[in-house]
Each structure stands twice: as C-alpha cells, then as structure tokens.
C-alpha cells in the first residue's frame, strides 16, 4: 500500500502509475479533491515502477484564464488532448473515472468491450449487460457486498483470443436512489461523498472491496449472461433467454463490436454458446443475492 505523502507528491509531478487489470494508467493532477478521492480508491492497488510500459497517460487540469476563478471548471486530458467539454470542479474525480472508461472503450480494441457489469465467484464470471437506468449498478453493488468479486460495474473486457473476461477493478458508480438503497442495506460499504448535478444526476462512488482489488489480475470464464430487469413487487426469478437473442442484445451493448468485425462476431458467438443465458426480473435485492449464489453453485 502506498503512503499518502508519496502518492500526493507523485500525482502532482510525474504522475502515479496504476495497473487496472489489463490496462495501466499514468494519472496526473494537482486538484486537491481529485487527489484525495483517487488516493482513497486506489491506495490498495498495484503501483507500477517508472520503467514499465504505460497504456494511457491522463490528467485532470484546471483551465487557465477566467474560468479558473468564476464557476471553476476541470478538464480531462488524454496525453495532451482534451476529448470532452469541461465540467464543474466538484465533478473532478467522477470525470477522471469517466475519462478512464473513455480511454478503454476508444483505444482498447485488442479486447471486445461490452457495456456491462461483471461479477464473479471463484473463476466463474457473470456478465450483466444493461443500458443506463436498468438497475445493474445497484445489483452489482449488492452482490459485491455479499461475497462476490467485482470485475467492473461498467465494462466487460473480453479477450479476443479465448473469450475470458478480465477485471478492471474500480469504484462502482451509484446514482440517485440506489445510493441510499446501498447505504442502508450495507452500512459497511465505503461510499464517497455524493456529487450532485452531474449529467447522470447525483453520483456516489462505492469503493471495491479489498479482495476484489487483490485478485485484480485474475481473469475468469463467463459462465452466465444475465439481463437484469428491475420491476416493482415481483418475485425474483431467472427466465431462460434465447441464445440468438442474447447474442444480438450482447453486441448491441458493445462499444467496439463493429470496429473489430468478424473477430468479435466469433468471440461473441463462443461466449453465448458456452454460457447460460437468462433474464432476471426482480424487485428484492436479498432474493437476488440468493438467486445469483445458487446460479453459480448449480454448475
């Protein structure tokens, strides 16, 4: 574990080199709230020596000129290039996280990348593809607080060689109501202070557990693809989903399926072929946790 002093010094100068599963980032910033939150989230991660190959060089900077003082902003940079519009300064740390997603989704074409949460027990991973607002992050947070390994709440990173899925252990992004749901259900969960008025509403980042971080380099096989659907007052259950339909919905949730073309077609086919495919309709998190536990035990 890196000390706060060393971390603070490095992030302001040469940057900190963090390994996140198959990707490495060099992160630089002098913005105090971003440094604070980055330290809390990444202090237990693997830090790389200065002589290691780093995939992405990113930084958060405050624009010069008038916006430094009046309605202060923050900008995200990928190796000197700023791909997004500036955001208000309090959103500095979430912006860093979104920026990291952007780097992976835009430059990680040596993996098939799907917009999905991924959790695992042992070396059996479950993919939860779902668009925004489907409740997947809440479900993911609940599972991760109940003995499941977090791979990611946003990005399934799938090898084009053997269809295994890689972790990229970072905070889980909780939005709006789910913040309170998780806080009350799991009082030991470590949540960062909420940030308001983002484009996604109120956002709070939940830190991954230490176990997930420690196993941050261990890939797994996808044993099930589950499409979660939150509905009021239903009794949670798995409904078998057609594989051909699963395939189509899986690639519709992909960031770069169309870029990689036939290679990704083959890998997506392999995954769907060998995984159990379900829809999971639920209203109760406790039942959901039990159901998911039995899903992997079945195998």
């Amino acid at each position: 574990m890196i000390s706060k002093e060393v971390f603070n010094k490095r992030i302001k100068t040469d940057g900190v080199n963090i390994e996140l599963g198959p990707f490495s980032f060099n992160i630089k910033t002098t913005i105090p709230n971003a440094i604070e939150e980055a330290y809390i989230n990444y202090k237990d991660h693997e830090f790389l020596d200065a002589n290691k190959f780093i995939d992405f060089h990113i930084s958060l900077e405050r624009p010069k000129g008038i916006r430094r003082w009046i309605k202060p902003n923050v900008e995200f940079y990928f190796d000197g290039h700023s791909p997004f519009k500036p955001l208000p300064l309090p959103q500095a740390y979430p912006m860093l996280e979104w920026g990291m997603n952007w780097c992976i989704a835009n430059y990680g074409h040596y993996f098939l990348i799907i917009h999905a949460a991924v959790v695992a027990k042992g070396n059996k991973a479950i993919l939860l593809p779902a668009p925004q607002g489907s409740g997947k992050s809440t479900l993911c947070a609940a599972l991760v607080n109940s003995g499941w390994r977090l791979f990611s709440d946003e990005l399934a990173i799938i090898s084009l060689k053997d269809a295994s899925v890689f972790p990229c252990v970072r905070p889980v992004s909780l939005k709006n109501e789910s913040i309170n749901i998780i806080k009350s259900r799991f009082p030991d969960a470590r949540l960062m202070p909420s940030v308001h008025d983002t484009t996604k509403g109120t956002v709070s980042l939940m830190m991954p557990g230490l176990e997930s971080v420690k196993q941050g380099n261990c890939p797994a096989k996808i044993s099930a693809i589950v499409f979660p659907k939150y509905q009021l007052e239903v009794n949670g259950k798995f409904e078998v989903k057609d594989k051909s339909q699963t395939f189509i919905e899986l690639i519709q949730n992909s960031f770069n399926y169309h870029v990689i073309s036939n290679q990704s077609f083959n890998i997506a086919g392999d995954i769907v072929e060998s995984a159990y495919c379900y829809e999971y309709i639920y209203s109760d998190l406790t039942k959901a946790i039990l159901d998911f536990d039995s899903l992997v035990d079945l195998d």
Partner: protein, 355 residues
Amino acid sequence: MSLLLTTILQPSLINSFNSKDWELLIRQARSAQLLSYLANLLTIDNVFEIPFKAKQHLEAALIFSKKQKSNVTAECDRISKILSDIGIKSIFLKGAAYSLIQLPLSDYRLLSDIDIMINKSELAKAENILFNHGWFSESLTDYDNMYYRKWSHEIPPLKHIKRQTVLDLHHNILPITTINSHIEESALHNNIVAINKSQYTYVLPSHLMLLHSAAHLFYESEFNKGLRDLIDIKELFLSFSSGDDEYCNKLIIYAKELGLERTLFYAMRYIEQILKCELPSNLKIELLPFSPPKAILFLMDFSFKNIFIPFHSSCYTKRFEISKTILYWRGHLLRMPLRLLVPHLTRKFFMQLKS
C-alpha cells in the same frame, strides 16, 4: 529528430528499444495520427519482434483503420449516388480519394472527414439534397458561417445525423482571397478522372492530387497533422512516379499552370530533406528556379524543419514554438490579405474569450 520520425526512417531501431521507448513511440505516433501507419510499417511481414503491450496498441490501431477505411468507401458511394441523382459529379479529395484509388497508404491512414469538390454553381443544390438525406451543417456562429461561405473555399462542414461522418464541400482548393495563387476552377474540374465504371465518382488525376495535397499543406497555418500530410505527399510521389515516366514532367507543367511552383518546390524539398525521399536529379534541376530568395528559404527551412514533428509534449522545443508562430502568420497571410485578416482574427479572439 523525434523518436517517431527516427523510427519511421529506420524501423530496425526498435530492436534496441526498452519499454519506455516503445511507450514514447506509440504516444508520439498517436499524437501525430500516424499510429496505424507505424503499425503497418513495423508489423508487415512479421520481420520484427514486438513486445506484447506495444503490439496490442499497434494491432488495435490497425483494426481501427481497417474498419474506418471500409466505412469511408461505403460513405463515398452513398454521397456520390445522392449527388448524381441531381446531375452533380463528386470529385473526392485527399484521404477519401486515396481510399477510392486503393492507394496502399489509405489502408493505414485515419480520416477525420470526407472532402469533395463540386462546381461553385452547384453548391446550393448540393447542400439542399444532402440536407434531405440527413446531412446537417454543424451549428456555428453566424460569423463562422459567413467566413466559410464568403472567404473560404468551403461551406461549413456537414455532419450526418445518424452516422456522424463529416463532409466538407469545396468548390476550389484554396480560399478565394489567396494572394499568390490563381488556381482556376476549370483547370481542376476539366481534368478529373472517373473511378471504376461509375459516372458519378471522380478523383483528381495523380499529378493534381499531389499538387493539391502540397497546396493544402503549404498554405496551412496549423500543423498538428503536418508530419502526416508530408508523409502523404511522399507516398503519393513514390506511388505515382514509379508507374509513370512522365509524372515529374506533369508535376512541373501543372505547377506552372496553377501558380503552385513555390508550393511544389517546398513539397519536394522537404520530402527529400526530412523524409529522405530520393528524388530524380532532373526533377531537382527543374525545381531550382522555383526556389524563393535565399533569405526566405533560410527562414522557411528553419520553420518547416521544426514544425513537422508529432504535436506531443515530448517534442516541444523553443524552436518549435518560434516556427509555429512564423507559420501561423504565414498561412493566414497567404490565405487572406492583412486588411481582412486583422479584423477576422480579432473577432475570433473575442469570441474565444466569451466562451
């Protein structure tokens, strides 16, 4: 010389690279929009052993450029069909043209937009029909809109509402207000070459294609893609001159006809000096009279030799900053006389302050 350029000129250097060298090479290449070009150079025929992490980035770049190329070709087809429905011939320029004529370079070259040239009289009709097919003008201030239409050689770029492709319609290759050059619209339009059997997809002939790329580069004021564009010119020259004994003659003749003698001189000079491209000696002799006076040549040599670098933090030097300023003003002054330039730039400065 940047690590990127050194490696492009001598790829075998990578055999002595450590992780940090690879990392820097890839970062510079990405900044210069040359990552897929580099990737092809280093991975073709599997001559070199490339470490795992670096290889991943090179492969990702190749995957991306391959996909982009097929998108571009499909898009060009769509656009030219739409315009042909109202009798307009589409003359594709630059990157899109390289793809259409299957130039090897085009497999590893990224495009940010598609450039087409049509007759000035047809611009309004074209804009209309493209609008009906989902191509909209990106929202600009009224001033930018006016600048584009009145003084530049383009209407504002059009973006496809669904596919997000950007299309630039030109009616000439330089702004109307360009001082030195007297490029005649008809000189360009009369010389076009049809692609395949279609009667609606055209490109410029090979000698004009190079002259156009050269004009585009050497009238520029911003050079973040400068190195990439210079490499384009070298590749065009090598591809076209190898199959055509008359190529160099045609270049000279048309450079004179279009008033682009100085431009051709610079283009050939710098692909030789910076990119080590071998030029036939009689071409060099014919280019000598096109040289500027010694003092100007000295200044241009300094500026251009320091501008064709990756625009990456690892490459910025004091000389670069000076060259950037010189060439910024040179480009603007070439494209717009001072009496118009000053108010234009002042206006832009205040608009930037506001936002």
